[in-house]
Symmetry: C2
Subunit: 429 residues, 2 copies
């Protein structure tokens, strides 16, 4: 842990740097996987699953029997927890629906927008030791609310070819029926190009390892959209004297346990809060099953003493954190000043894990400073907005001449003529 | 012009193909330009402007004197036309503002979103013979409404080092003061990396040639966002017996004159509409200053007779046109069925040039089938949505256990602990 006291503003540029990720030369490897899946389809998926995931699959899709079985394997108290999370996520994302409002910009000129779900979307859920079923809620619920007609979920199976029941249970609960037992770059390829059995999708969502991330980056060149660029997870906490050091330490650790490349930052105008949090951090760290990961992450991390809370918010805006916690009883005083952040947690009882799981906000957020130019996943991520316009004869008469003059100045005479020919027709009738 | 009558549905996949663009090997060239500008800053901009645009610039920024002069050079009737367009575009884009609505997802758990303008944005306006000042309105107005704090406009000067007065007048009118006389990939590089005089931006908007497009594609890897992927412009018109063939022909030509790679498609259930439009097209084509360009574009284009209007809409959804005109007196019957399109023009008096210039809708739209997964530029393109949450003690008590169980199942015990430590604290007080 690096503790920095009252750094000069010129130092900020260095202080906001994320840990450098060694950009491995994956491009050729991933291109090869993409091209193989494009050319050979399902056969390539079976082959890569054996090669990379060491699993001999009998079939690619999860069966109804497996779904039914998952319902008996998930404990009731987990089912109840998922139900609470689902309800809150649905409520918050449903509130993001917008009404179709017709605007008459000039008499006879009506313009509006219609939100339409992206027809076909793909969700990637990473594998590993733990089942990340919470991400299914975060992606599947807005996809359903947006009206996406086709939703494909890809997730790697374990070596026995099975998927964790919490994944299957959650997917089924929100109405996702096409679950493919494929992970890695080959899963992204399958959804981007389609295979004999897997439908091609228009947009791919979800986190993943470096292979998945690279594949998502490359398939954009094929016209497939992705949710957002990826980077390691991070939290920045701004704490004042009203904060609780034990809570701060717990929040920092909940970010640090994500991965060795996670970054956690604490800003405060109060030196004793920094000292007390350091002590709490040591105390809590030793009790964690993932303490080795968290320890590595803490090496990248910084505690920074600044002069005022306002200066802390300024620093945070330059850093643009994925998660920002304002650990203060007066947190709401600072919301107006926040410009760059993915998701903000106000006060001493709004821990990041609330937003990670069950409060209702989305946990798929811009990392690595991308909060400067990207939003987190929301209902809109699964929708397109189509503009409509309808001009009456009167409407065209009202703005026709303006269009003619502008088109003429841009030397686009056919554009002008499309108006002129109509205006003449209106006059002659 | 290719006329296809009642194609079988299996043929659709071929019929929706866009003209193949020879993807030239520009990557190395553009990387070189990006790296030079990154390393050498303004010096590289002066050098590339001389090399590519054959202009020896004295300074990079447009001066106040040039702005003042532009006001005397733009004719009053053009000023009046721009004022009408500005007003309509402002009205429509201002209507896209959303209110901050606090949602209590569970008692004591409040979630909401705040829209914040992207702090620094760059607008690229192409050069060439004609001044594309309309694109300044389409990008600059939503940027201003979104509250983007810094707006940089780059546009190439002519060989005398000057910019068309209509460009300067329009930029000044909407309050853009930083206008840089640089075009091409070097302009994209300048905005992406910043130079001694040009501020770095977080998101870059605007059309351009293959060099600009490639540069925009590549700078995404540097963490800079762009408006959307680019492709040649296109229109698809669905016409029934109530359409006017002269109007259809004029609309097709207004798209065809954009460039030799433009594509125009006419779908109809009425053979005589197709025949009459072909005749009108020939008649109108010869009168156009840009007839050679339009002629080339028409070679890529298709008139397709289908069985019903519904089938036309189905085809359009598969094609996903940038512009869709429903040339029918009953156009509004079909709006519900439209799933994939950038902007839709309803009825016989809603010509595409209305939306290109002055009706109020944005003309920066997804081409090349990207309407399947992207929206056109809107107010939201210049904003990020930040989520906020505030949990009271009661709120955390209501959802805390659900978070604990979910975190435990995902084997993230520090996530669980961030809740447990707070719940314990609440109980003890």
């Amino acid at each position: 842990m690096n503790v920095i006291k009252n750094p000069a503003k010129q130092q900020w540029t260095d202080l906001i740097q994320r840990p450098k990720i060694a950009k491995e030369q994956l491009t050729d490897l991933i291109y090869n996987i993409l091209n193989e899946v494009k050319a050979k389809g399902d056969e390539a998926l079976f082959r890569f699953s054996e090669q990379f995931d060491h699993v001999k699959l009998k079939q690619l899709f999860v069966t109804d029997t497996e779904i039914l079985e998952s319902k008996t394997l998930v404990p009731n108290k987990l089912k109840a927890a998922i139900a609470i999370a689902k309800q809150n996520i649905e409520k918050f994302h449903a509130s993001q629906k917008t009404e179709e409002v017709v605007i008459e910009t000039t008499k006879g000129v009506q313009c509006w927008r219609k939100s339409v779900g992206v027809e076909k979307v793909g969700l990637y859920i990473p594998g590993g030791t733990a089942p990340l079923f919470s991400t299914i809620l975060m992606l599947g619920i807005p996809a359903k609310l947006a009206g996406c007609a086709e939703i494909i979920l890809c997730t790697p199976p374990n070596k026995n070819g099975t998927i964790h029941p919490a994944i299957l249970y959650t997917a089924n609960l929100i109405g996702i029926s096409k679950i493919v037992k494929v992970g890695g770059a080959q899963a992204i390829a399958a959804m981007a190009f389609g295979t004999e059995t897997i439908p091609q999708v228009y947009k791919i969502f979800g986190p993943g390892n470096q292979f998945v991330t690279k594949a998502k980056e490359l398939i954009q060149q094929e016209g497939v959209a992705i949710d957002m660029p990826a980077g390691p997870s991070e939290v920045l906490i701004i704490a004042d004297e009203t904060a609780n050091p034990a809570f701060i330490a717990a929040d920092l650790l909940s970010q640090a346990e994500h991965g060795e490349d996670s970054q956690v930052i604490l800003l405060s105008d109060n030196e004793s809060i920094i000292d007390l949090t350091l002590k709490e951090l040591e105390k809590q760290l030793v009790c964690l099953p993932r303490k080795e990961i968290a320890k590595q992450a803490l090496k990248n991390s910084k505690f920074i003493l600044l002069n005022t809370l306002d200066e802390c918010v300024d620093f945070s805006n330059v850093y643009a954190p994925e998660h920002l916690i304002i650990a203060s009883e007066n947190a709401s005083n600072y919301t107006d000043k926040i410009i760059n952040a993915g998701s903000v947690f106000l006060g001493n009882y709004s821990c990041e894990s609330a937003g990670d799981y069950a409060s209702g906000t989305n946990h798929t957020l811009p990392t690595n400073g991308f909060a400067k130019n990207y939003s987190g996943v929301s209902l809109e991520s699964f929708q397109k907005k189509i503009t409509f316009q309808q001009l009456s004869k009167e409407g065209l008469k009202n703005i026709g001449q303006a269009i003619e003059i502008m088109a003429e100045t841009e030397e686009l005479f056919a554009h002008k003529n499309a108006v002129s020919i109509r205006l003449k027709n209106i006059e002659n009738v």
